[in-house]
């Protein structure tokens, strides 16, 4: 059976797994952005927090993904369900690029612009929301793009703890030594990553401030 025939025959299952995958990645990104962007802002406001926060995110990044799933298993509420466990672990991975790019984007705002804003009597909050965040948006988005592509790849491992997604095919294919099964998971995952990269990249270019 050719891979194409295989895809056609199993298209419903593949679609199902792809949707699961998108759901895992989507929820992960929502959490990672909701946590990462405020942390990135905090780092620029309290420089002494920069080391612990970025260091912590860095360490999470270095833990092998399978091991991280394992570590989270005994955590009470998380370990109880596979999808919670997977999303928690994936969120930890996605944090670093988001935190780093948020703080780098804000730090990259022209000093003169910030000084003018302060000298004109803008409050800290106004400077953040009306000047710094709009001007660092494209850098922030670049971090989100990196994190999304990364998460789409790592999310295939979530199948190891039973969270579903395209990893199901890959793990089954490995166990059964069936290349077509592996490809049925790997190809849609790669296409998803490319699509996310393209869409977010285009958005980033549109939002990049002119100089």
């Amino acid at each position: 059976m050719s891979p194409i025939q295989f895809f056609l025959r199993h298209h419903q299952e593949i679609l199902q797994a792809t949707l699961e995958h998108i759901w895992l990645v989507g929820l992960t990104m929502i959490f990672a952005i909701a946590i990462g962007v405020p942390l990135g802002i905090l780092v620029t406001r309290k420089p002494w927090l920069s080391k612990p926060i970025l260091g912590g995110a860095n360490i999470a990044e270095t833990i092998p993904s399978l091991a991280l799933f394992g570590f989270l298993l005994p955590v009470p509420w998380l370990g109880g369900r596979a999808d919670r466990l997977a999303i928690a672990a994936l969120t930890l991975y996605a944090l670093l690029p988001i935190i780093r790019n948020t703080s780098a984007g804000i730090a990259g705002v022209d000093r003169a612009v910030r000084e003018a804003a302060r000298g004109m009597g803008m409050t800290d909050r106004q400077i953040l929301f009306q000047v710094e965040l709009p001007l660092s948006f494209s850098t922030m988005l670049a971090g989100i793009r990196i994190a999304t592509v990364l998460t789409i790849g790592i999310a295939t491992i979530a199948a190891a703890v039973g969270a579903g997604g395209l990893g199901e095919f890959i793990f089954r294919g490995l166990a059964m030594v069936n290349d077509q099964l592996i490809l049925a998971g790997a190809i849609p995952a790669a296409l998803l990553a490319l699509a996310a990269d393209f869409v977010l990249g285009a958005l980033e270019r549109r939002l990049r401030p002119e100089r």
Binding site: A112, A116, G119, G121
Partner: protein, 261 residues
């Protein structure tokens, strides 16, 4: 304290420094600086880089606070002012201008009026008026972004933005320093006219003695964190002070090169 009589409050200086010191990591950036600026006057702080001019300027809108001594704006210590309220009534122009790159010219100029919740009609009116004031007429500029403007145009927008909320005091840090000499000369002359017309209290920081003589009603010479003396432009030209003389000699070099007397 006895209530002030109207005459006294009229005489009250717009800005006053009393024995101001400012120390940053063991370096004394300002050393016992005292001066006052009367309402409607233009004081130029003249000196070389690192003389403390900018440091002194930033104390007026409380971007910096003295290590010791006092800075008063309209008779009130800057530390007693709410910093946001203080800064909103003081226009601020810096050499790098710091226009907001994601805002159009109109949005840049109208920022403080909008933050102060002026009604939209009045904001629109004011932007028009300001563009007129700084010589950027008509619709062509309103919707452009800063990166679409020339250096001189950007600086004009910077001045318009600083004047938009009609502040009583205007602070300018090397306002025309980044411009080419031709544009700088034009801007100085225009600003001189504008100054007379607006009647604001202005403090300008510069290292350009020509600019000081053109724009200042008084000139304060700064050196190594100290303010030696404050001169009128006329007195400055003839001052026996060796520093003032050195600045004048520098000007004369240009005059001779021009073939003038």
């Amino acid at each position: 304290m006895a209530p002030r009589t109207p005459i006294e409050s009229d005489r009250q200086p717009a800005i006053e420094f009393r024995h101001v010191h400012y120390t940053l990591s063991n370096r004394e950036l300002l050393n016992d600086v005292s001066f006052s600026v009367a309402r409607g006057e233009t004081l130029v702080l003249l000196g070389r880089s690192g003389a403390g001019k900018t440091t002194a300027l930033k104390m007026i809108n409380r971007l910096l606070v003295p290590s010791s001594g006092e800075v008063l704006v309209e008779g009130k210590l800057t530390t007693e002012w709410d910093p946001i309220a203080l800064r909103r009534k003081i226009g601020y122009v810096i050499q790098d201008i710091g226009l907001f790159p994601h805002y159009t010219v109109t949005q840049n100029i109208s920022l403080i009026p909008r933050l102060e919740h002026w009604p939209p009609d009045r904001v629109r009116e004011r932007v028009k008026e300001m563009l007129e004031t700084v010589g950027l007429h008509g619709k062509t500029f309103e919707h452009r972004y800063p990166h679409q403007l020339s250096g001189g145009q950007r600086q004009r927008v910077g001045v318009a933005r600083a004047l938009a909320a009609d502040p009583d005091i205007l602070l300018m840090d090397e306002p025309f320093g980044a411009l080419d000499p031709m544009t700088r000369g034009e801007m100085q002359n225009e600003f001189k006219a504008l100054e007379r017309h607006l009647g604001k209290t202005v403090v300008i920081v510069t290292h350009d003695v020509g600019e000081a003589l053109v724009l200042g009603t008084r000139i304060g010479l700064m050196e190594a964190g100290k303010l030696a003396r404050v001169y009128s432009p006329h007195d400055f030209v003839h001052a026996p002070d060796p520093m003032a003389a050195a600045y004048m000699a520098q000007l004369r070099v240009y005059d001779e090169a021009k073939g003038g007397k």
